[in-house]
Amino acid sequence: MIRERIELTPKKQRRVRADLVSVLGEHRVHDESGVLVAYSGVNALFPRAMPHFVVRPLSTEEVVEIVRIASRHRIPLTPVSSGTQEPGTHPFFGGIVLDLRGMNRILEVDPERFYAVVEPGVTVGALARELAKHRLHLTVGSFPPSLSVLGNYLQVAVNSHRSSGINHDILALEVVLADGTVMRTGSKAFAERFPHVSWFCWTNSFPSLTELFINAQGTLGIVTKGAVKVYQVSEVHDTILTAFPSYRQSVEFMKDLARNNLVQHVCAWHWCLYTIIDHLEQYGHGASSEVVVYDPWETPDDRPYNIVVPTFSGYREQVEGVKAAIRRLIEKHGGRDYTEECREKYPGAHKFFYDHYVHHQPTNTFMGAYAEGYPVMPIVLCDPTTVADLEDWGLKFLRSSILKLGLAYYSHCVDMGRTIFLRMTPVISPDSSQRQIQRAARVRARYMETAMRKFGAVPIRPAPDGGQTLKQTGGFGQALIKIKKALDPQNIMNAGMSAGMYGSSMEEGGGD
């Protein structure tokens, strides 16, 4: 089992290289440090780590061969689809990085069966454009179009269709396991025997294995295809942007909307963040440090504390009915219709809300916010009864810490309001010293700890912490470690991240 960063002797390096070249050719195997350094990780809170090789497979068959080579030589494999932000893309233990962007075929768009099948290199923008030809759309977050669809969907993606009970957009997957087995989930599993069986169903007669790979960070297998859910472009897509003076009211409103089937999605944006977005959208490039220094509780003028964005679609008559009901709930919860005022006063934010959440189109707007700092965003899925208290405490806690720059948040209502996603958005300055970065990491960890202990929240997008978080899950963690060991006994699959997620108990008798 791989337990630490591997070292390769020059001889072994040459042998592995020769094996990789025999599968991919010279042009798609790289071991020059000038190439490797670009795949050494992104997230400022975790150390950079150089891989030994970067390879660019173009098909499932090539991935299988690479996995076999890695397994034969006992070398870690780190899959990267887009490689933004996630610590899971740091090849902590070295080895081979698989850059999957070259696997960029949209294999199927099936308007009848309502799904598309894509490879990991397919970008959100490319799929959105292809779907538009069929009057379909996919769900998006506030992210740029150049992200990988599967890179995003394999995380807990909190995208533009989450409030009505659709918790993720992966229908089924094709996965290459550590021993080279190619596995398909859902109905497609039966295509082994009956090739005409399509991807139409998320399950089959057996336990669902699709979810096993969501959030797995490449530690259990390499996804080479995914059938993703697509949605109809309806006669009308609309919103009523709503202003609320407090987050507590926003949450109650969001829950009421979702539980009464009035929205596909609803999210709340803290004033500081929609102000930044408006600035970026209106003035283009660059961050806007001048607008992020305000006191997070005190809006500088009559701008609302939160703007809530409920989105709905359907036939015209249906949408009129939904709008009438939403107006009643706005009154009930003490908000006001802010659509026109937002268009007038914050046209950039208005456009952003419409692009992402009404029309499900990615944009680059939010990216601009990063130039003045590196995002250190603690994200939790929270209990709907305590999330407002978490917001209150969280802002105070972060405000008094090193993580005060760009302090704001956005929050999504998930699964009919059973869960509320809350993402604080502080950044640290890129010229922070190592000590400051470590302090920032500690603050983030403390935030997460308290969010769990005091407010009953759970973390998503795991930070490698030597298995500490998993330990807190008892039997769940033990079962998960057994699965990891059964699927990948040598710990080839994202070995460093595996050690970070599953911890040292992965090496012991069975995760106990």
């Binding site: 798609r28 790289h30 020059e32 440090s33 000038g34 190439v35 350094v37 670009a38 795949y39 050494s40 992104v42 400022a44 950079r48 150089m50 970067v54 660019r56 887009s82 490689g83 933004t84 932000q85 850059d99 962007r101 070259g102 970008t123 959100v124 923008g125 490319a126 959105a128 454009r129 992210f143 740029p144 179009p145 150049s146 992200l147 283009g284 490039h285 660059g286 961050a287 990615p362 680059n364 707007t365 990216m367 601009g368 990063y370 130039a371 003045e372 700092g373 590196y374 995002p375 890129p430 010229d431």
Partner: protein
């Protein structure tokens, strides 16, 4: 000076989120970085260069020859910088990486020999361009009698197509009885050594260039190459009125040139013009202003795509250059127009070179001066 922790770009090296907009443009579909088009690696993109620079600072870059190669496997076209939604200034980082390669003595031999030529002030006149060159020389007026100096730049006579376009421009000036000067010892404006990371040489050349122009009588200098024009615009030592030849053309024609036909035509915006000289509207505005029907390629203006002749990449790897040119020709052909207008000697040479013997051979690639003077 190489990669420098105290430079203004250093702050931004660590803010790149790898969002990929610098190589897969806005719609998430088009690859807008020539380096990525061919190599398919993050290291060869604008964002990748920021990581390369981090690697230099953290001493994680080892094999020097490979480092030298990678930093020149880039067209220096600036598409990455124009696209980056975080507004990161990537070109200064690429320049500094190349300076680093120069300092480490790991510059590819082809780059080295070009730089040697520049430093020796060798005039680069290709055999096929010699006839046009001589004719142009013969059309010029003595410098003391001239109203304008025409600065041709090193790419004007590096191929036949550009030399013919240059000749057409010179003939037009003479037909219109404009007294223009030809500089026998033109020298280098500094753009090329700067892009190649030879900062000391670039500095000297920029100075020499400004001194030369300032020592001449004519108050105006017309640049035939957008690369030199972009360089001159930002060379504060030049005390002359600096003009791009297309603007000068419009002036000569009083805003009303007589194009060869009314279209439809397509066009290739040179990156040195739209990004280097910041003429973001590009060639379509000139063409449309005189009533020509224009078919827009997908990538234009500030987000135009390289012709394949960019500084560095075009020199060190021919396959890379060819792949980029073919991708561009493909895009231009997709507009359906059989005439393509451009305004850069390097672009016209590069695009026409790979046109031959291929399915693009019926495409007419013209300089805008050729089009405005009847095709």
């Amino acid at each position: 000076m190489g990669i420098d922790r105290s430079a203004s770009y250093a702050f931004y090296l660590y803010t790149c989120n790898r969002c990929a907009t610098c190589f897969i443009s806005f719609n998430g579909e088009n690859i807008n970085c020539p380096g990525y088009t061919y190599f398919g690696l993050f290291s060869h993109t604008g964002g990748g260069k920021l990581y390369l620079a981090q690697g230099v600072l953290d001493k994680r870059i080892k094999e020097d020859t490979a480092f030298g190669r990678i930093v020149y496997e880039c067209m220096f076209c600036g598409a990455c910088e124009a696209a980056c939604p975080s507004g990161i200034e990537i070109i200064p980082v690429i320049k500094a990486l190349r300076e680093e390669a120069v300092e480490r003595g790991v510059v590819p031999s082809k780059v080295e020999s070009v730089l040697r030529k520049v430093s020796e002030n060798g005039k680069n006149v290709a055999r096929q361009a010699m006839l046009a060159y001589r004719q142009i020389q013969s059309l010029a007026s003595p410098v003391d009698e001239a109203e304008v100096v025409v600065f041709w730049g090193c790419s004007a006579f590096s191929g036949e197509r550009s030399a013919l376009a240059a000749l057409r421009f010179a003939q037009l000036l003479s037909d219109r009885r404009i007294r223009w000067a030809f500089l026998e010892k033109e020298g280098c404006c500094g753009a090329l050594p700067e892009a190649m990371g030879a900062s000391q040489l670039a500095h000297e050349k920029k100075e020499e260039h400004a001194n030369l122009l300032n020592s001449l009588n004519p108050p105006r200098v017309v640049y035939f190459s957008p690369e030199c024009y972009a360089q001159a615009l930002f060379n504060q030592k030049i005390e002359k009125d600096v003009l791009f030849y297309v603007d000068y053309l419009m002036e000569i024609f009083d805003g009303n040139p007589l194009p060869g036909h009314k279209g439809p035509v397509s066009y290739h915006d040179p990156c040195a013009l739209t990004r280097g000289a910041e003429v973001e509207e590009g060639l379509s505005s000139y063409l449309e202003s005189v009533g020509v029907e224009v078919k827009h390629p997908q990538r234009t203006g500030k987000h135009t795509f390289c012709c394949g002749g960019g500084f560095g990449g075009g020199l060190v790897n021919r396959n890379f250059a060819r792949a980029v040119t073919l991708a561009r020709l493909e895009e231009l052909a997709a507009t359906g127009a059989d005439t393509v207008i451009t305004a850069c000697p390097r672009c016209i040479n590069t695009l026409s070179r790979h046109q031959k013997g291929r399915r693009f051979r019926d495409m007419k690639i013209m300089d805008i001066v050729e089009f405005f003077t009847g095709g």
